[in-house]
């Protein structure tokens, strides 16, 4: 059950090996989550993360017996399997309080991004939308829950250097915005998280953009967003205003920016 200060007791990580996603899960377990489900394509790696989570909880004493971590196989691109898998996950007696949609891919840089256009849409677009859709159905039935989508500032306005990625993120971001309104009054909240450049394994070979942050900064912003029941969270927060300006810039100007 999510409480009055935005703490949750159960969390489902869709994209169960995501570096940012796992960092968020660790913070939630340190707070008061006692049930964790890691849904991942690579279940072997997810199992390692699950073991680490269990071990870290034992150290604190608090969750030595109480923390339950489970791994479920899930491929974001195999959308036809999503309904059954999510139904299974939500079948537990106390349901799921928070689902973090972290499944995603970055694709290649430069001109090579043209070759990844469809693949990125399958994961970041259709895959994430499908996961949110089936999660939303399950949460609507349980009368409560929060979906946190790890979107990106790239979803705000596609730019020449990574528009294949940006377009795929824009698809799920727009879906989440619609979902927010569709779920109004259902007890289910959708929070869209739009980080700028995050230094992770996935972005290790990219040149960090100005204002780059670590996964921990995303986690802090997500926790603060949950506490305040925010609809949209930028990381860092100042990007909200930067993106507002960038969205309004004439194309000729935007094109020339060194982004």
């Amino acid at each position: 059950m999510r409480d009055a200060v935005g703490s949750v007791q159960s969390v489902l990580l869709l994209g169960g090996t995501s570096e940012i996603g796992l960092d968020i899960v660790r913070a939630l377990v340190a707070d008061r989550a006692t049930t964790v489900v890691l849904a991942a394509r690579d279940t072997a790696r997810a199992e390692q993360h699950a073991a680490a989570l269990r071990a870290s909880a034992t150290g604190t004493g608090r969750h030595a017996t109480a923390l339950a971590v489970e791994v479920v196989e899930l491929d974001a691109t195999r959308t036809d399997a999503h309904a059954a898998i999510l139904q299974g996950i939500f079948a537990r007696p106390d349901g799921i309080d928070l689902a973090v949609v972290a499944a995603g891919a970055l694709g290649r840089a430069g001109d090579d991004q043209l070759l990844d256009a469809a693949a990125l849409q399958l994961v970041n677009g259709a895959g994430a939308a499908s996961l949110m859709a089936h999660t939303a159905r399950a949460m609507r039935a349980q009368g409560r829950g929060t979906i946190a989508l790890l979107s990106s500032v790239a979803a705000d306005r596609p730019r020449a250097t990574n528009f294949a990625y940006g377009a795929s993120k824009a698809a799920s971001d727009a879906f989440a915005r619609g979902l927010q309104d569709a779920l109004h009054g259902s007890g289910v909240d959708v929070m869209i998280v739009r980080p700028g450049f995050v230094r992770t394994r996935m972005t290790a070979d990219r040149k960090p953009a100005p204002g780059a942050v670590d996964a921990e900064a995303v986690t802090r912003a997500v926790i603060a967003g949950l506490r305040a029941r925010k609809a949209v969270v930028y990381v860092p927060g100042s990007l909200r205003w930067v993106m507002l300006v960038l969205r309004l810039l004439p194309r000729a100007v935007f094109r020339r920016l060194p982004l």
Binding site: M1, R2, D3, A4, V5, G6, S7, Q9, D31, R32, R62, A66, D94, G95, R140, A141, Q142, G143, R144, G185, S186, G187, I223, A224, R227, A228, R229
Partner: protein, 448 residues
């Protein structure tokens, strides 16, 4: 009549959706219990947290079950369906010279809710909690049995008084009333410059008065920490009233003066506003002790004059933190206030009261001091600050109030409520199929 509805407590935090069922008779309550797999009763929704919410399952709206069954004006005993509220009851009995034995800070609570939360009033140090004045009640057990329970019936009575509705659905309450000769309270007001002075005044003089409450300005720090106003009260005799009031001593008017629309932005009640309000409130009180006569509504239910005052906190809502610590650990009150006044969270008036002995297994009151404060939800560090308050309370041997709670850590519960294992055993025996469920019960693992 049923319908899916988004429900929250009075604090408007963590709303969830439930199927709301409105039984018009005990038979319909029984039928609902048999039909639905997961049920909780709800009265007027004045519990601050998630006690009367049931995500994805059924909530029984008891406010349609509000008939008066019997009113004995000779002996002062009322029997009514559980959905009848104290507001209606007071309006009914006060003109005849009777008053409710215990009233919380709002009269908009149902009899069933008052018993399920075992509410207390400003007279707990003298009269105990609500359940002490209940002669009997009717309970529809989770199995669909209709049972009549009296205090000497043992465990199920004590598990239901303060049991947060998890032992079944209370459908009828028989309550002893207290005689009064006027609708006024003789109020003795005294200002105290700091916490030591305030607590000493209450400790020394509470026994002289039936009612006692102190309002604390919790933004003061250092030497002024805990400055506040003590309001002692007793029901005024008709004969002592000033001529103007004496013409109609039992005349009772509980007016709603203001309403708050549902469009207030979160953040209106910020630290600045809290500081200004607290300073005004303190300055308004007379510097030396004063005796005056106030209407029952003004003394017991000042906030009821503003309909929907909880909306002042905006969309994000607020948390009311109420804890009690034993007399021996009175220093914990200071520690709690120091922690709150040192945090960035703004709390409007805090309320300090003294409790007498406790009652039901999960009843909140225990002999000692109880402190209640309202804080806006949404602040980044609120969860941590309140967790620290819990730690202070547990270390002092105290507990938080489940009817107000919306966020306590479940693992702290057993230290706070030593009778919890006993309560669980009774609960399980009356509800083996786990029919009763609320968001609160799930969040705290109460029925686990």
């Amino acid at each position: 009549m049923t319908g899916a509805q988004l429900l929250s407590g009075w604090g408007r935090t963590a709303p969830t959706r439930a199927d709301v069922v409105r039984p018009g008779s005990v038979a319909e309550v029984v039928a609902t219990m048999e039909r639905e797999r997961r049920v909780i009763a709800r009265g007027l929704g004045r519990a601050y947290g998630d006690a009367a919410q049931n995500a994805g399952a059924a909530v029984l709206d008891m406010t349609w079950l509000r008939r008066l069954v019997a009113l004995d004006l000779e002996h002062g005993v009322v029997t009514a369906e559980a959905g009848l509220d104290l507001d209606a009851l007071i309006a009914l009995i006060l003109p005849h010279g009777w008053f409710v034995p215990v009233t919380p800070g709002t009269r908009h609570v149902t009899l069933g809710g008052a018993l399920a939360c075992d509410v207390h009033g400003k007279n707990h140090h003298v009269d105990g909690a609500f359940s002490r004045h209940v002669e009997s009640f009717e309970l529809v057990t989770p199995g669909g049995q209709v049972r009549e329970l009296r205090p000497d019936d043992g465990d199920l009575f004590a598990a239901t008084a303060g049991g947060m509705g998890l032992t079944g659905v209370i459908t009828r309450v028989r309550l002893r009333l207290i005689p009064v000769s006027s609708a006024y309270v003789r109020v003795t007001t005294r200002r105290a410059a700091n916490l030591a002075e305030l607590m000493a005044a209450m400790r020394e003089r509470d026994r002289e008065f039936r009612y006692s409450v102190a309002w604390i300005d919790c933004l003061q720090r250092g030497a002024g920490l805990g400055r506040g106003i003590v309001l002692w009260g007793d029901h005024a005799d008709a004969g002592e009233l000033p001529a103007k009031l004496g013409r109609a001593p039992l005349g009772y008017a509980a007016a709603v003066r203001l309403g708050v629309p549902d469009v207030v932005p979160s953040g209106l009640l910020n630290p600045l506003a809290a500081r200004a309000f607290n300073a005004l409130w303190y300055a308004k009180a007379p510097a030396s002790e004063r005796v005056s006569h106030e209407g029952i509504a003004a003394y017991f239910h000042p906030l009821d004059a503003v309909a929907g005052w909880n909306r002042l906190y905006g969309r994000r809502g607020f948390v009311q933190y109420q804890a009690v610590v034993p007399d021996a650990a009175a220093d914990a009150v200071r520690a709690l206030l120091e922690r709150v006044s040192g945090a960035g969270t703004s709390s409007f008036l805090a309320v300090l009261k003294r409790f007498g002995a406790g009652s039901g297994m999960l009843s909140f009151p225990m002999r000692g001091w109880t402190l209640a404060l309202d804080v806006p939800a949404g602040a980044r560090d609120l969860a941590a600050v309140l967790d620290e308050l819990d730690a202070l309370v547990v270390a002092a041997g105290g507990r938080v109030y489940l009817a107000k709670d919306a966020r306590v850590r479940p693992e702290r519960l057993e230290a706070m409520y030593p009778d919890l294992p006993r309560w669980r055993a009774v609960q399980r025996s009356v509800d083996p199929d786990a029919v009763m469920r609320s968001d609160l019960a799930v969040r705290l693992g109460l029925t686990a």
